[in-house]
Amino acid sequence: MSPSAPALAEEAIVRLPRGVRLREDRARGGWVLLAPERVFQLDPVAREVLSRVDGERDIGAIVDDLAAAFAAPRERILGDVRAMLADLILKQVLEVV
């Protein structure tokens, strides 16, 4: 039995749970997500998304911001962001507020 990814509404607000931290990895370059006994090396896209996760803005607002910053189609960004965040929730490094 494997848990399935949660469906994330645009109004959903997510945050990093206690015990998970986002920081720059100066020694190797790039950014990482630090979790209990785990280190996730983030690609630039994941970093752009996660740096906007503040436990206050909802997913819709994060997507608006990304669409403006990267002049990309909103629908596509929404799909990608939803998939990425749902995956991180499954990995227990993100939670819905």
């Binding site: 749970p17 206690r18 015990g19 990895d25 630090l34 209990p36 006994e37």
Partner: protein
């Protein structure tokens, strides 16, 4: 052609060899470092700074029992100051609620609690400490109550293998995010210092 080793992601800091438990498989060396020979606070703080500079991202504060160090709060604060993700590996029998809160306040990220068995009878016999199991249960509740993520770990061997399902049950029951079994070490350093 040899390439230099990449910087380590994690560092295991054995703060002390002192521990209230006496597990037979303990990997502490035969000759325990005495209290007065342990690295002092300032030295550890320098080590954490250097580790962070080197590229270490996570520090596991272990022992022995790290709570045997009265400066544990200061050491956690030092790790946090250097941006290190800080994990406390403890047996959970000698850490008061007040100290736990102080550690959480200092920025501790995660607690890993060792469990020797899934019942008081098995746990306390392996740990050679009556009452340890109940203390661990109470400590686990305090950890989650303090808002800290908790992982349980158990060394599995023939005296607790039959409790495997119960250990997983126990982890769920105590609100642990995970339960793990580290590879048991092959040295049994406590034999000489704590004959059973």
């Amino acid at each position: 052609m040899t390439r230099p080793a990449p910087p380590p992601l994690g560092m295991l800091a054995e703060l002390t060899h002192r521990c209230p438990l006496q597990c037979p498989y303990c990997s502490n060396p035969l000759e325990l470092t005495r209290k007065r020979d342990e690295l002092d606070t300032a030295t550890w703080q320098r080590v954490f700074a250097e580790a962070a500079e080197l590229g270490v991202l996570q520090v596991h504060l272990s022992g022995g029992e790290p709570a045997a160090r009265p400066d544990l709060e200061a050491l956690v604060a030092s790790c946090v100051e250097h941006g290190l993700y800080t994990n406390l590996i403890t047996a959970g029998v000698n850490l008061s609620r007040a100290r736990l809160d102080a550690l959480a306040e200092a920025g501790l990220d995660h607690v890993q609690l060792s469990i020797q068995g899934a019942s008081a009878e098995v746990n306390d016999r392996i740990a050679n400490l009556p009452g340890a199991f109940e203390k661990k249960r109470a400590f686990a509740a305090e950890v989650t109550d303090a808002g800290l993520p908790l992982t349980l770990n158990s060394v599995i061997h023939r005296h607790n293998l039959h409790q495997l399902p119960e250990l997983v049950e126990l982890a769920l029951d105590l609100g642990a995010g995970a339960w793990r079994s580290p590879t048991p070490s092959t040295t049994a350093g406590r034999w000489r210092t704590a004959p059973r």
